[in-house]
């Protein structure tokens, strides 16, 4: 079992309110990812769960027991640190065995568990080496090994992949996912990388300035972001935003600003009935913009001038000037365009997002 519940968690650092009233239920066997920009309170929250940081107010419970006042060692958790935190003066074997030795396990049991973990992680050859004789990826595995030999109720990961190069990061990401499927232990994972969050998480918590913005499955965050921040944070390249004024003409709703005038599709229009005459924030993802052709007749369209063409091979990113603002579109690699071209761009009508211009909450 490994159910973690956070109830009204707050953290103050020297008068700074770092974590604000976080309420969260992390289910047993779940892979929960905390994501957000640096300084959003995600690592602090993780450290509070670990017991490395005191809680200013609120309750943290693991499997129903409040652990607020338990020392880290008594919480039955294991943590993987950003810099691995391997003991430099111990061999790989001793690094992994340390936690078991401290907990007075019998030697044969320690041996069995360390070899088993080393086997899972493919580091059986390295057991006699010292951390500094290992590459970044190998150190990462040892750090993982040190966590899994303990068979804890919860794994805590503090940006474990951020020190690896891009290629290795992708590889380790896949391995982490496999490892979680194999061990089935609850995992709480902190990252600032939204791709890691989307690919690893069963559910994702998006945080900003100490406040939880949204909790949900990856696709839920992508498709129905709760506010402009989540919409902009999840997805790459980031969602395009435009402040528009909603007006009514001939029974349909029009959204317009200096460079944009589109007829809103019915579904969106229904949500904006109450906002006629007001400003709202329109959001559309780069992948939901297409170069307008015959198929898109009837879709909301606007004119744009191409400023930059970024060839990625599998897609093309177009940086376009739309009125005063810049929008990015991700289009098929077959589209042939050049800088300075004028284009008619269509939006997928079902994929329009609207946010309140003041509160930034989704409408």
């Amino acid at each position: 079992m490994g159910q973690v519940v956070l109830k009204g968690i707050n953290k103050f650092f020297d008068g700074m309110h770092a974590v604000k009233d976080v309420n969260l239920q992390i289910r047993d066997k779940e892979f929960m990812v905390f994501v957000g920009p640096s300084g959003c309170g995600k690592t602090t929250t993780l450290r509070m769960i670990a017991g490395l940081e005191a809680i200013s107010s609120g309750d943290i419970s693991i499997d129903g027991n409040v652990v607020n006042n338990l020392a880290p060692m008594d919480r039955d958790i294991a943590m993987v640190f950003q810099n691995y935190a391997l003991y430099p003066h111990m061999s790989v074997y001793d690094n992994m065995a340390f936690g078991l030795k401290m907990r007075k396990f019998e030697k044969p049991e320690i041996d069995k568990r360390v070899l088993e973990a080393a086997d899972i992680l493919g580091i059986g050859e390295l057991l006699k080496r010292r951390p500094r004789q290992l590459s970044g990826g190998q150190r990462q595995r040892v750090a993982l090994g040190r966590a899994i030999v303990r068979h804890p109720r919860v794994f805590l990961f503090d940006e474990p992949l951020s020190n690896l190069d891009a290629k290795l990061r992708v590889q380790m990401r896949v391995e982490l996912k496999k490892l979680h499927l194999r061990l089935g232990t609850t995992a709480i994972y902190v990252t600032h990388d939204q791709v890691e969050a989307m690919t690893l998480g069963d559910r994702v918590v998006v945080m900003r300035e100490g406040v939880v913005q949204q909790v949900g499955e990856p696709l839920e965050l992508y498709n129905q972001p709760a506010n402009k921040f989540v919409a902009g944070f999840i997805g790459s390249p980031a969602m395009n935003f435009a402040v528009v004024t909603v007006t009514e003409a001939n029974g349909s709703l029009i959204a317009e600003n200096s460079g944009l005038r589109i007829k809103l599709p019915d579904e969106t229009a229904r949500r904006l009935r109450g906002h006629i005459g007001r400003e709202v924030m329109l959001g559309v993802r780069p992948e939901d913009l297409t170069v307008a052709g015959s198929v898109d007749l009837g879709h909301p369209c606007f004119d744009a001038v191409i400023e930059v063409v970024e060839q990625l091979g599998s897609e093309i990113l177009l940086d376009m000037k739309v009125g005063e603002s810049i929008m990015v579109a991700s289009v098929e690699p077959t589209v042939s365009v050049r800088v300075g071209d004028k284009l008619r761009v269509a939006m997928r009508p079902t994929r329009l997002h609207v946010f309140d211009a003041q509160t930034e909450a989704a409408i």
């Binding site: 017991g51 490395l52 060692m73 943590m79 003991y87 430099p88 340390f98 936690g99 040190r146």
Partner: protein, 311 residues
Amino acid sequence: MAISAVSDTTLHEAPPPRRQRLLEDERWLAFVLLVPTIVLLGMFIAYPFIQGILLSVTSSRVGMRGDFVGLANFYKIFNDGIFRTAVYNTFLYTGVTTVFKLALGLWLAMLLNRNFRGKAFTRAFILLPFIIPTVLSTFAWKWMFDPTFSVLNWLLYHLGLITGRINWLGDPDLAMISIIIVNIWRGVPFFAISLLAGLQTISPELNEAAAIDGAKPWQRFWHITWPLLLPVTMVVMLFSVIQTFADFQIVYVMTGGGPANATHLFATYAYQIGIGTGLLSEGAAISLAMFPVLFLVVVIQLLYIRRVEVR
């Protein structure tokens, strides 16, 4: 490519003056850079050292050149009771003070490594005994141990712990204890600050990882902090042992080697014989008697440090 080719030819067309070309040669450059160090070491270390050796095998006195006498001076001092006391004292003094300095310095370093208000100020303050000229601070201590004016006696008397005066510097054992206390007081800051610097190179994450791994505070100290601090500790010990072994100022000011030559160390006894009595060659022999011990200490500790570092 074209640009670099052009600049290459310009380089070849205008060769630097001969002197500069000599410095381009790494062997010459190395030699030139080493010269100041060689001169300084030669003048202030090698020359006096060799002179000391030469002096110790003659019968020189102040104002008298003397003749070669072989190892007679050494033979004489090894049969000298005061010299033996000085040897015993030096080992005792070095041993006891080093243990206390290490223990107290480490304790202080661990305290200072925590976060608290006025941290920077306290750290600077701790260094005071180290900064004040030793002779000056030792004079202050001498007053504190003075039989008549001793503030220590006053304190102990008013706390009701003693009824009569303690003659700190008049009793051989108490005098030894007194100079040991002063040396510890003076040496702890060096240990504390150096070990603090060492502690700060140890990532706090290691202690956190160990805490999660189930290590209790003293286990974290023993399994994580201590082994990682060991190289720094050894270097600090090396410096301290050498300095303490050859210490002069504290004993000279506090007791002058007394009472009845009971607190002499190598250095003070060498000074007394060589300069005080004018038996230069014998004083040199006493000084040199320190050398093998110090040499051994340096070799052992450097070997140990190397072993710790490669692992």
